[in-house]
């Protein structure tokens, strides 16, 4: 039995704050290789696919031109949506950024790092906010730059057709920067689903199901339900932001469409916040 009298120690001063939590999440994200691989792959795929699609279109144009001969103007290959073509890569890179968003959260659960995180910062909603903000900030920088490059590279590939878009072409600026925003939203969709489901496999497959599979199911519905329902699904609503210059009146307008995607993402993040707040760690 210890009889010595010891003075209980007091805690040192200091406090948790949102800027400190942001700094903490920034250290966490930048210190994982998967972050850089994921962001790098998102950028490379975005640019590469857009460039290849534009090259193929230019190739087709010249084939038609040769077949038509020097004075055959009828067979010309029209490229009406040059800006949109160069941004096609987001259809593939959305899978990478969405997976990365889910991993940012589920990686902590699968390794039990979440116990350390919540022991250090027990108020739960700021944990979600800090993760979402830091991931969103990194994603927006990478995705905007990637889409600007994709646009430049793609339009350069189309130059020989004289049908390329420029920054002053109507809709170009909206489509290019909107494409970046679309990718960021899909990434945050992954973050939200990660907090809801906690398992990497469950979060990624749910994201793929909502983004890729729901539109396929919608097309199986009889008219007009296919588009009436389909236009509100995450991908069909969100990708309206890159449609140039003519849009299908059956679908939502670009910004309304992106707004609908943002609502899906907000719902996923809200559900994630609820689960994080209520469930045991």
């Amino acid at each position: 039995m210890t009889t010595q009298v010891v003075r209980p120690r007091a805690a040192l001063p200091g406090r948790v704050s949102l800027p400190r939590q942001l700094n903490s999440e920034w250290i966490k994200l930048r210190s994982l290789r998967s972050t850089w691989w994921g962001l790098g792959a998102t950028a490379v795929i975005t640019v590469l696919i857009g460039w290849l699609v534009c090259l193929a279109q230019a190739h087709q144009f010249h084939n038609h031109e040769r077949a038509a001969g020097p004075d055959g103007g009828f067979a010309i290959h029209i490229i009406p949506n040059a800006a949109q073509l160069s941004l096609t890569g987001i259809h593939l890179s959305q899978l990478i950024i969405g997976t990365l968003g889910a991993l940012v959260v589920t990686g902590e659960y699968s390794t039990r790092m979440i116990l350390a995180t919540l022991s250090a910062t027990p108020r739960r909603l700021p944990v979600l906010a800090a993760k979402g903000l830091v991931f969103g900030a990194m994603a927006i920088v990478v995705c905007e730059i990637a889409n600007v490059i994709a646009f430049q590279v793609g339009q350069a590939a189309l130059k020989s057709t004289h049908q390329q878009a420029s920054w002053s072409t109507i809709g170009s600026v909206r489509a290019v920067f909107g494409a970046g925003l679309y990718l960021v939203l899909i990434g945050l969709f992954g973050v939200g689903l990660g907090f809801v489901l906690r398992s990497t496999a469950a979060a990624i497959s749910t994201l793929m199901g909502l983004v890729l599979v729901l539109p396929l199911i919608a097309t199986a519905l009889p008219q007009p339900y296919d588009t009436d329902i389909g236009k509100f699904l995450p991908m069909l609503a969100g990708t309206q932001i890159i449609v140039t210059p003519y849009r299908d009146p059956d679908f939502l307008t670009p910004w309304i469409g992106l707004g609908v995607l943002a609502l899906w993402v907000a719902a996923a993040l809200a559900a994630g916040a609820w689960v994080l707040h209520r469930r045991d760690a």
Binding site: V6, L12, T111, R112, P122
Partner: protein, 305 residues
């Protein structure tokens, strides 16, 4: 000081922690002892606000964990070995935790040195052994130099040198006036490390008190006597008010009187003794005696039924 009041945690129909109340005082190492599945880890997680109790409440130095302004500076915790992202280096892991609580970077290098991980600070934690993972967990617990430490099975996976290091570290930290609450299912280890002990079984409090008291109570002052004249001596001892048990023809287990009294009575009766021993239960015996009925997962030493 840690206080738990009527903590209850249910998982479906199973009650993992059942009306558990206890107090952990500063200045000593308090052991939290119980068989596997007795609710030790769940209790620790509730103290840290990671699991929400169905009933009851707890506080650390009068505060709920979620109310702490800088939790790492108030309570350090080791909950699971290797609760670390496998892709991150040891140093970055600690750095991320430190900055969230405004702890300076130099403290990160300090604790890495303290736990002996400075050589592997920039290696990814995924490649760490269980023992290195425990050291990293202890480093994280010490980051904020907190007055309270909660450690769940900290010596698991450590080599003998590491076990001894943890024991001395915990005792030194307690001597500085800190509250040290450390769980284990290894009684022998607790006997060496802790001076106070809280024993649980199936989520219920079985006993608490000092290790010395627990040993005394469990051994019950039993005296073992071997003699050819067992019956005669047993009668004399019973006359003297002792409880006597006769498990063997020439063996007696005597309760209620000490070995000196037994010797005196034997001399008076003219009984020759073969052996006279005070039975001191080990903490392990005491533990088995206390938790015997509450052990959830029994193994068998019978190879063939």
């Amino acid at each position: 000081m840690i206080e738990a009041n009527g903590l209850v945690k249910r998982y479906g129909a199973k009650t993992a922690v059942d009306d558990l109340s206890f107090t952990v005082q500063p200045g000593v190492v308090t052991g939290f002892l119980g068989p596997n599945g007795s609710g030790k880890s769940t209790t620790m997680r509730m103290l840290l606000g990671l699991d929400h109790p169905n009933e009851g409440h707890s506080s650390i130095n009068g505060k709920r964990h979620v109310e702490m302004r800088a939790p790492l500076r108030e309570v350090g915790a080791l909950l699971e070995a290797k609760a670390v992202h496998t892709g991150r280096t040891a140093r970055n892991h600690l750095l991320a935790l430190a900055v969230s609580n405004g702890i300076p970077t130099k403290r990160v290098d300090e604790v890495l040195g303290l736990v002996g991980l400075d050589q592997v600070a920039r290696k990814r934690a995924g490649g760490f052994s269980l023992g290195m993972g425990q050291r990293l967990g202890i480093a994280a617990a010490l980051l904020g130099d907190p007055p309270t430490l909660l450690l769940d099975e900290p010596v698991n996976g450590l080599d003998p040198e590491g076990i001894r290091w943890v024991r001395q570290l915990l005792q030194a930290l307690a001597a500085e006036g800190r509250t040290i609450f450390v769980s284990s299912h290894l009684m022998s280890e607790m006997a060496l490390t802790a001076s106070e002990i809280i024993v649980v079984g199936r989520g219920k409090l079985i006993t608490s008190g000092s290790v010395a008291d627990l040993l005394r109570r469990a051994s019950g002052g039993s005296v073992l006597v071997r003699t050819r004249a067992a019956e005669r001596l047993a009668a004399a001892l019973r006359d003297a008010g002792a409880a006597v048990d006769c498990p063997d023809a020439d063996e007696l287990h005597v309760d209620g009187v000490d070995s000196e009294a037994v010797g005196a009575i034997a001399a008076r009766e003219g009984v020759a003794l073969i052996e006279l021993t005070t039975r001191q239960a080990s903490l392990e015996d005491a533990f088995m005696e206390l938790t015997g009925e509450t052990v959830e997962y029994h193994g068998s030493t019978k190879v063939r039924g």
